[in-house]
Every structure is written in structure tokens, then in C-alpha cells.
């Protein structure tokens, strides 16, 4: 009995963490495999996926931001009331009288902007490395949908402070939706619950923002990760999987670099089994020679680093810059110009030339093109390499569209003054 009490801490620890810190390959495998959060990862990760400049960690940054946003968002929900009478006052209270209130709001605001940007960059990374190609077509589509959901999440959250910025940005944004042919007005009405932005719109945007869209994102992120595994890990260039006889392990991976566990050099003596059979040519089963390292600790350290970096950057931004809060929304007093959030300013700029083409036509074509890309580009050469010469055409078209949108965004952000007239920002 006494022994039991003495062993209590040790036993509690062991019951929670089933494995001691691993010192063998078996231990590393088991640690990864027996932990809910870690078993999402493969036991071994391809060395190419760990190259910092290949992925730039953008996927992990996106997830980190989503986690930060969820956490800060939950805390903000304790204080927020989605009512036109109270919402703005709650924002004011948050900034002075709630412990960490300003910080939470800042983190949520800057995190949201950062997430739109980072998810967009992630999409670019996947495109420029040709990673959308077979067999990852469907995961690309999920990724594009996730990008759109991120935009919608940020857009719906924009209304909630119920200040002038929010009110008029949403008025402009939803007006763009109204330009869609046939269903435009109905779509707008469905979104706002009214002809104008008001209490109905606020509650709808709130529910979308705190429940429906986060749930959808969570679900799709799970599918996204699942598909990464099932599609054979991250994309990599041809020849990254070295035949056993020619295996040339880079010094960093071989263990000369401090902190990286030595590779399992000889596949034949592996002590672990892969728990399940998977279709497809890329998943490593049996004795296929490869170029992998154990996920514990190589992958996990990299991921933790990305997460910590995200936390640091968002915290620093939140300390340095306060999220803007303008005067309470006033439906009879529009600011001039009223601008949509920055990521929609490209759209708004295009809308200023043609309501239908700028707001609906061009973006729809762009999204459809994005969704169809993996089915239009069926090549295999150049996959897994940044700006591959074999993918020149696709990259040039994508870059052109991207730059056009960026230019429109910059014009809309900085060069548009009252009445949407051209101005110089200095």
C-alpha cells in the first residue's frame, strides 16, 4: 500500500504517457503511434518534407493560427453579445476593463489577417511546387475550399465589432454578392436576413463565424491531413526516394547535425511494422528503399518550432498594435470611401470597373480554374520542385493572375480615395 502511494506520481505519469522518452527506433515508433495527437503523423517522415525551404512550414503556420484563433475566439465569446445595441459597447469594455481583453482582441484580429495571408501563401507554395498533381488532386480541392472558408470566416468576423469599419465593409462586401446573376439578390438576402445590414445580419454572421465555419474548417482540415497520409505524404521530386544501393544520406540527416536522430539506414532490420495496408505507389510498405527519418523527434520539433514562432509573432503584433475600433455603426453616415477588408479590395477594385465581371465573373472563373488545375495539368515531370521548368506555362499563368490580383489589391488599398477616385497615398 505504502509502495503504491510512493509510486503514485510515477504511475499516474505512466498511465497518461504510455511510453518513456524514446531511446530506440521502436520507442520512437511507439511514441508516435500511441499518442492521439502524434499518430496523425506518420512514424517516419520523408527527408524532403523536412527541408525548411521546401514547405516553408506554411501548412503548420496555418494550423497554428487556426488554433490561436480558436482559443482566443472562445475566450472572446465569453464577453461578446451579438446584438446591435451591445456589440460595440462590449468591444469598448473589452479594451479597458477585461483582463487581457485588448490582447485577446488584438490576437484574434491580427491572427485572422495573418491566417488569410498564410493560407494564401500555402496555396501558392503548393501550386509552384506542382504538388496538386496526381495523386493529390482531391487534397488540392479541399485546400482551395479551405482557403475560401478562411476568407469567409475572416469576412464574417469582420462585422462582429459593429463599428463603422465593420458595417460598411460588410455592406460593400455583400453588395458584391448581390451582383451575381439570377440568384444575387436572393443570396444577399439569405446572408443578411434583411435588405440591409442589421440585427439579422449580425446574428447570422455570428453563428457562421463561431460555429458553422469553424466546424467546417475543422472537419476539412482533418480530411486534408488524412489525405496527406493516404496520398503518400508531401510531394517530392522524382529521385527523392533513393534506391537502397544508391542511398546517399545528406550529412544533416545522417546524424552529424546535432539534434537529428540517426536514420534507419538499413531497412531490412527495421523492428516495427506498419499498421495497415495502403494503396498507392508512394506509401512505404515493407522493404521499399526510401529516404525517411523518424518523425519523433525530427518532424515534431519542426512543427513545435513553427507553432512557437507563430505564437511569438502574433503576441508581438498584439502588444505593438491595437486592433482598430471605429465609431459605432451608423447606417446613415457612410464613410467615404467605404472599403472592404484588404483581401477583398482586389475584388472591390475590379467591381469599380464592372460590377458583374469584377465581383462575380472573374472571381468565379478564377476559383473554377483553381479547382480544375489538377485535372488540366496531368503531367508528372517537375512535381515537387519549386518553379520547375517543366511547369513553366502553369506557373506563368498563375503568377500573372496572382500579380493582377495583388496590383488591384494595392490600388484598392492605397490609391483609392473619396468616391473611389485615384489618389496618391503620400
Amino acid at each position: 500500500m505504502l509502495q503504491n502511494i510512493i509510486d503514485l506520481p510515477k504511475n499516474v505519469w505512466r498511465s497518461v504517457f504510455r511510453n518513456p522518452l524514446p531511446s530506440s527506433d521502436l520507442g520512437r515508433s511507439q511514441t508516435t503511434f500511441t499518442n492521439l495527437f502524434l499518430h496523425i503523423h506518420p512514424i517516419k517522415t520523408h527527408a524532403n518534407s523536412l527541408k525548411p525551404w521546401y514547405t516553408m512550414g506554411l501548412g503548420v503556420f496555418s494550423l497554428s493560427l487556426f488554433i490561436i484563433l480558436t482559443a482566443s475566439g472562445f475566450l472572446l465569446m465569453f464577453y461578446y453579445v451579438p446584438s446591435v445595441e451591445q456589440a460595440h459597447n462590449r468591444m469598448l469594455d473589452l479594451s479597458g476593463t477585461v483582463a487581457f481583453g485588448t490582447l485577446l482582441r488584438n490576437m484574434h484580429r491580427w491572427g485572422a489577417h495573418a491566417m488569410v495571408a498564410i493560407v494564401g501563401l500555402h496555396l501558392c507554395r503548393v501550386f509552384y511546387t506542382g504538388s496538386y498533381r496526381a495523386p493529390r488532386e482531391f487534397n488540392w480541392i479541399i485546400g482551395v475550399v479551405l482557403f475560401l472558408l478562411t476568407l469567409v470566416a475572416s469576412f464574417t468576423g469582420y462585422l462582429l465589432p459593429w463599428d463603422q469599419l465593420a458595417f460598411w465593409a460588410i455592406t460593400v462586401g455583400t453588395a458584391i454578392a448581390g451582383y451575381a446573376p439570377f440568384v444575387g439578390e436572393e443570396m444577399r438576402f439569405l446572408l443578411l436576413g434583411d435588405r440591409v445590414v442589421g440585427q439579422e445580419a449580425l446574428i447570422r454572421f455570428y453563428v457562421l463565424h463561431v460555429a458553422i465555419i469553424p466546424a467546417a474548417i475543422t472537419l476539412l482540415v482533418a480530411v486534408h491531413f488524412w489525405r496527406i497520409r493516404k496520398d503518400g505524404g508531401l510531394s517530392r521530386p522524382e529521385g527523392a526516394d533513393l534506391p537502397e544501393s544508391q542511398a546517399q544520406f545528406p550529412a544533416a540527416i545522417e546524424g552529424k547535425h546535432e539534434g537529428l536522430a540517426p536514420l534507419a539506414k538499413t531497412q531490412k532490420t527495421r523492428q516495427f511494422g506498419v499498421m495497415g495496408l495502403v494503396r498507392g505507389p508512394f506509401t512505404k510498405v515493407g522493404n521499399t528503399p526510401d529516404n525517411t527519418v523518424y518523425s519523433w523527434p525530427n518532424l515534431f520539433i519542426a512543427e513545435l518550432f513553427c507553432f512557437a514562432l507563430t505564437v511569438v509573432v502574433i503576441l508581438c503584433m498584439s502588444l505593438a498594435l491595437n486592433a482598430p475600433l471605429e465609431a459605432p455603426a451608423d447606417a446613415t453616415h457612410p464613410p467615404n470611401p467605404s472599403k472592404a477588408p484588404w483581401y477583398f479590395l482586389g475584388l472591390q477594385e475590379m467591381v469599380s470597373y464592372s460590377a458583374f465581371w469584377g465581383g462575380i465573373g472573374v472571381p468565379t472563373i478564377f476559383v473554377i480554374l483553381l479547382l480544375l488545375v489538377p485535372y488540366l495539368d496531368r503531367g508528372t515531370r517537375g512535381t515537387g520542385v519549386w518553379f520547375s521548368r517543366h511547369r513553366l506555362l502553369a506557373n506563368v499563368i498563375f503568377t500573372l493572375l496572382l500579380i493582377t490580383n495583388l496590383v488591384f489589391m494595392i490600388i484598392g488599398s492605397f490609391f483609392r480615395g473619396p468616391n473611389w477616385a485615384l489618389i496618391t497615398p503620400w
Partner: protein
Amino acid sequence: MRSALAVLSVIVLVIHGIVFYDQFFARWQEYQSDYFAKAIAEPGTSDLVKETLRSRRPAIEQTIVRSFGAERVDRCQTCHIAIDDPRFESANQPLKTHPKIPGHKFETYGCTVCHDGQGRAVFTKAAHEGGEDWPWPMVSKDMIQANCVQCHVEPGWEHAPLVNEGRQLFFQRACYTCHTISGLSFGSIGPELTEVGRRRRPDYILGKILDPRATNPTSTMPKQDLTDHQRQALATFLKAQQGSRISRAPLQQFVSAQQARPEWLEVAVIAGPEAAQAMATQVAAKRGEMLLPKAGCLSCHKLGGVDGRVGPDIEYASAQRDYSWLMAHFKDPRSVVPGSIMPPYPLPNEAFVALTEYLTTLPMPKIVDDPAEEYKAICARCHGEKGAGDGLISRYLDPRPRDLTKAAFLKSKPHERLVDSVMNGVPGTSMAPWGKVLGQERAARLVDYVLENISKGGTARVATNRKVPTTNPVPFSAESTARGEAIFLDRCWGCHGKKADGHGPNAVDIWPRPRNLRNKPFVTAASYARLHESIKYGVQGSAMPAAGFDFNLDDKSIGDVINYIHGLNGLGGASQAAQTAPSPETQAKTGNTAKEGGEKSHER
């Protein structure tokens, strides 16, 4: 990678430390601790109070005010904790005693009802200024009066002198003629100001009075010549215009707005019942004299040493304008000067009669008998000291005063026409007839003076051998105007505009501006020959080309165009026969008051 993660972890920890420090130590806590310490140290503090103070810990203090409109939460006392402690009268802010105002308890009134600012904030800048676009930053000590009168609604309340003065200025400076304030004025030219105090920051209101064009370059609001004090008073009055008064129930509000008498009758026209009686016993001209400064005329015009620096000089009105012109002008200034920025005055007819009587009997000042002095006295106000058409009030006139330095224009015109313009004015513009002021001889001398001293240099092709019909070779008909319109929309609209209002796409770069061909008094008065000549041979010194040659228009085509222009102005065929007939519309307007003499001012 591991060492990088280790470094990053340390940074994460440090930043969390900063975050906690940042969030847990606020300035208001220091202020409160300071207050407790000072209050305990104050001599004469009883032990019981000391004990209470010692046990107090810094906390957010707030007053929730429900009696004044929407619920207010004022946390000002979190920093200003000593406002009700009489011992801190000489202390520095934020620990200073608030002066006692009888009947105003902090618990009932809070702070922002009077001071504005953002009551929920507990940090200085956020509370006092409330962020960039907060519409209600703290008002200055003077401007607080604007908030006093939200409850103290009786007009002329003695403790709000700035508001009262601003209200007077609002009428004296003729603001009421353009702006609507519900229950007070009915102007429709400028933006409504009923809620301006609730919607606009005080600095915005002040800035707008100071320079109306600062934020809106196309504003036609005249810049008023006000002292700093007057500007402050006007801004305070406007700040007090908050639509609904917080002290009144909505029903009261509605009823009082419905019952509100147009107060300009008292303030502007009669200046109170006593003045009304005094005025009633006078003859009309005397009433006009009393009324003129009160109705705001001199906030733009110049008379008897007062100069609003916006509108024309009216010192010589008796010699320039007759009864019917003045009455028509009072009722609708644009009926006689289509480009006028003067608003139609919301005054009763008797007021116009009184003002007209006064102006037509006004003794006019003497002008020194010397062309240079004459030019300075009567021309320079519009045409500018150097004659470049950029005088003091030129920016408010449409069409702009003629640029007299354009020698090509002046020298290509016959001397008689120039003298005629001076003598009889130019109908439809602000150029007044100076004939009765100067006389033929002095007018001719003045023209010579201008030609010699201002229209220096420059050569003009002297027109010789021009063949211009004196009557339209094409009779007025629908077909003719249709042909004329086709030519106009082919050749003329680029400068004169599709509506022929002188605002074509090319007009912005053209100086002098293209003529507004919808200026009915002008078109009516211009002889057929003059229009024909201008189209056929162009106008030297302006951008008008010799369309007859450049565009190969024969006399008949030009006749079609002129028929079209006449048709636009509703002149029809009648104008050909009687080129100098006044427009039927003007006649109808002026007809009731004075039939005779109506035509004269329109003659050229």
C-alpha cells in the same frame, strides 16, 4: 533545430512575461493608490476615514447613467477619483476636485453627458479622445455649453452665451438660408445640420467653418470672415444640434418639432417682439434698412463698410437695379443670374418689398473722378487689381469675370460694345449696369483706361469685311432646331457640354470658360448678329474657334444652331423679331410688382 526551438521557447516565456506585466499594471491603479496615500496624509482626516481608505484597493469605479437617452457607462472616476473630495481643489489632474454645480449629482449625471468623451475607457487617450473616428471626443471648456443646452432647452438660456451668440450668427451670417436645422430653418442648398453635433467631431465643424473647401474642393459654401471667438460660438451652436434632445421624450420631441414656429421670423426678421413693433411703424424702406443686416445679406455682400467678401458690392444698387429686377432676384436669384450661388431667401414677401424699397432708395457713395480710382472702386472687386479676372469674389461668380488682360479679346471688339457692357451690364451675369453711376463719358474713359493699362500688348486681328446677317436666315421651326441640335452634338458639345450648359469635357482646361448657353437672360439679350458672328468667325482671346470656316458651316447651318440654342431657352421664333425682349418668365415673375421699367435693365 533543437537549439533554435530552445531559443524560441525562451522568447515565448519572455513575451508572456511582458504580456502579464502589460496587462496587470494600469495607470489608474497608480492614480488611485496615490489618492489613498494623499487622502490619508491630509490633516484633519478622522481615524475612521483613514481606516476605510487603508482598506481600499484600486478598483474600476463606474457610474451607470440611464436618465439621458441610451445607457451610458462612465468610468471616468476610475482615474478622477477625487472629483467629489473637496480637499483636492488645488491638486493636479487627474486628482482634482470637480467644481460644484448645484443640482448636478455625479451619480445621476455621470460625466460624459456634459463632457463627452468615451466613458467606458479607463486609459487616458482612449477615454478623452476615443480613437480616431470617435464622434464625441471630450469637448473643450467653452464648448461644454453645447451639451448644457441639451437639457436647458429654453431659447436664450443665459448660462450658454456661446450657444446664443452662435445662434445669432447662424442667422446673421445667412447660414439659415442654405442649411436646414429641424424646427429652425429650411434651407435646401447645403447639407442638413439637424444632427451635425451628434455626427461630426467639434474639430471637423470648426474646420469646415474655417475653410469650407478644405475637405470638399467643390463646395460652394462661402468662406465667412469671422473672428476666432465667433467661429467658436458658431461651432458650439452647431455642436448643440444633436437632433433629439436627451432630456425630452420622443413624443415631446415630435410635438415640439411639429409646433416649432419658423424662428427666423423672430430672430432674423424681427429680432424679437419689441423690434417687431418698432419696425412695424416704419415705412418700408426704413424696415428694409433695419432688416438687411439681420437677414444676413452682409455676410456675403458689401454695404456701408461691412464686407462679406463673397457677393457683389450693393452700394450702387439704387443706380443699377430697378424694383422688378430686385424683387425677381430676391425670390429666385437664379431667375436673373442663372449661375448665382445666392440661395432663394426663405422670407415673406413683405420682407422682400422692404428690402427692395430700401435698396432702390439707397444713396450711393461718390467715386473720385479719375479712371484709375474708378477701376479700383468698382471693377477690382470682381476683375482683380491687375484685371486678370481673379478679384476678391471672382471664385463665387459664374460666369467668371472677364480676364481683362486678354488683349486679343478686348481689342477685337468694337469700342462701343465694351462701353455698352460697362454702361448696361451683361444680362445673366454679375456684371451690373454702371451707366447711372458713371455716365457715358466716364464709362468710355474707363474703357480706354482698361485698354491702355490692363489689356496691354497683344494684338488682335481687326475684323474687316465680315458678313453677318442681322436676322436669322432660317425661320424658327422644329426641323431647324433638330438640324441645329445635330450640328451642336457634332461640333459644339465638347466644350459647351451636351446640355449646352458650358460644362463639356474639355471645359475644365479652357479659360475663359465656355459660355453657358442655357443662361436665358444672356441668350435673350445677345443679338442674333453677335451670336452668328461668334460662331462664324470665332471669338479672339478665347477658345471658341471660327466654326463657320473650321467646320465648314454656312450661314444657314449657323442659323439652325442658333435656333437650337434659342429653343433650349424657350425663346422660339419671337426672339428674332424682338431681340431685346425680356424672357416671358422673368416678366411673369416681376409683372405683379412693377410692370414699367422691367424691360430696361435687360436692354443692351
